[in-house]
Symmetry: C2
Subunit: 331 residues, 2 copies
């Protein structure tokens, strides 16, 4: 920067101001400096700037990513969300640091906010350890969490109204005349538990008793969705519809049922949750509860940046909506 200052015949202060678009510098001076900087192929050093300004314009995003060792598949939902977040952040000139491990995990001695690597964190999903999350957000409030709305958590949560979503999906199947509607999903994940709650609510509100044998909620995640669907079949329990807690689960279920010679949706109707893009691309396409990924991602970024600026911010509950994607899935 000193050299640029020399070339332009001004001080470093002026160069700095010119490059950062400060209104304190004269129009002509600025243009001259900009031209010189460009021709010298000069860029300000981000680290020096971060150090001085005590902020990094970087947001950490925490995502459960595929684990190849154990052949664990991560849900394409995250890929969609990542795309939206990348757009929303870059629009506001923020960078995105991607991480798999939670800052409170064992072996992680510090976190990116504390050590000045990021200004805030977006956490995708509450995960299983709700208390660790709560402790962390108590210490570092510059956090937004995607997930379900549990009691009075004091961190900012963005996500759909999972109970309403679960109810919506289930009632949709009821309206189709389905009598034995099963639930498939792992309630260890808070969001899924809420969706299951919505499923139950649909029955209760319609004066029907919940048949517990129809709730398949043994612990599993997407990677085992297919196996679980097979277990459903083998269990001998009869059903004519399934509310699947995610689109990936729904797609697995459809495949499994079809392989078993069943007709979807004639024999068994399916509804999913998420509305991920890939579900459109091959099918059969789904009726699904939209997670409003676009809206949700943008909202998370907005709220986080507001909180970073010190504004007080409230948790956001996104309204749910049932969408039908293309033709051949459940009607």
């Amino acid at each position: 920067m000193f050299e640029i200052a020399q070339l332009a015949g001004v001080s470093e202060s002026t160069v700095s101001r010119a490059l950062s678009g400060s209104p304190l510098v004269n129009e002509n001076t600025r243009n001259r400096i900009l031209k010189i900087a460009r021709s010298a192929n000069y860029t300000v050093n981000i680290n020096a700037r971060n150090l001085r300004q005590k902020r990094t314009r970087t947001i950490e995003v925490l995502i459960p990513l595929a684990e190849y060792g154990r052949q664990h598949m991560s849900d394409p939902f995250y890929l969609d969300m990542l795309g939206v977040l990348a757009d929303a952040l870059s629009e506001r000139h923020y960078d995105m640091l991607l991480t798999k491990r939670a800052p409170w995990a064992k072996g992680v001695e510090t976190n990116s906010i504390q050590c000045g690597r990021a200004d805030g964190i977006i956490i995708m999903g509450q995960g299983q350890d709700l208390e660790a999350l709560r402790n962390f957000t108590d210490l570092y409030p510059q956090v937004v969490v995607w997930g379900g709305h549990l009691r009075e958590d004091d961190y900012i949560v963005v996500g759909t109204d999972n109970v309403a979503g679960g109810k919506l999906a289930t009632e949709h199947l009821m309206k189709l005349g389905r009598k034995r509607i099963a639930f498939l999903g792992d309630p260890a994940e808070p969001e899924i538990a809420l969706r299951q709650q919505g499923y139950r609510k649909a029955f209760l509100d319609n004066g029907i008793a919940v048949d517990e044998s129809l709730i398949f909620s043994a612990p599993f995640d997407a990677r085992e969705a297919r196996a679980s669907a097979e277990k459903m079949l083998q269990s001998g329990v009869s059903f004519d519809a399934i509310f699947c807690a995610s689109d990936v689960i729904a797609m697995s279920a459809i495949t499994t049922l079809r392989n078993a010679g069943l007709d979807v949706p004639r024999d068994v109707a399916i509804v999913g949750y998420d509305d991920i893009l890939i579900a459109n691309s091959f099918g059969p396409s789904l009726t699904t509860v939209s997670q409003r990924i676009q809206e949700g991602g943008k909202t998370m970024v907005e709220l986080l940046l507001q909180r970073i600026e010190g504004k007080s911010v409230d948790t956001t509950l996104l309204p749910v909506e049932l969408v039908v994607r293309e033709s051949c899935g459940a009607p």
Copy 2:
């Protein structure tokens, strides 16, 4: 850090050395300092460190991510790769900066290497503008590219032997006795072009003329794969097998064919490319050419770090292998 030094009764130099694990500091002193630092909840400021050391222990990863505006879907292949990269990088104590836009794109005035944000860049896919990529890597050699092996490019490329892979896939279909094997994929992407080359080679090497009407290579990408498969059907060209340039395309094709009442693989056998995890989870599962995502991701990280350390490094060609995932797809 000054405060920690005070508490421990030593100088800042010593604290710094103790915290960074320098052998120059006495065992006892180190432990004392570590204990104090922990109890004071102190962490070194990353930006100051980066500034001083002129390196960030951060790698930028460039990925074509989903674009919701135009409903563009990004291939789950990238999600798998992201997981592997995240592991490989964190194992070596590197962070991952995720970006959608190429540093040479319009409106991007600088790049992360130049401004000190990252030590190197991993670029997923050569994309369409080969020259821009070449110019960029000429200026900044700390780059590894995932993609196809084109002539004598001087940047480091990691990827499977796409020609061999294409040939392998095609010959597999030939061995199954298929006579009219189609190709589906967009050769605008260099990797795909090479796979198509392999497809042609399979015919030539077996003394069969290539039927150009079987090559469906109109420009499109994964988002339109389904539409393209439909066009194939409507074209009236008869075929009894398809070599699809990616698993996503293959899955779309399978769906489309089945919706049209065809039996896969009896009427039409399918082979894909990538071996993505999600393909196992719902199906029908695929015969596919493995991209060795795990191996490839690790290799990219290794080579990049070596180059950053100044070692001279060579492009790596991963051998191809045909894998069959589960039961119900093409045999």
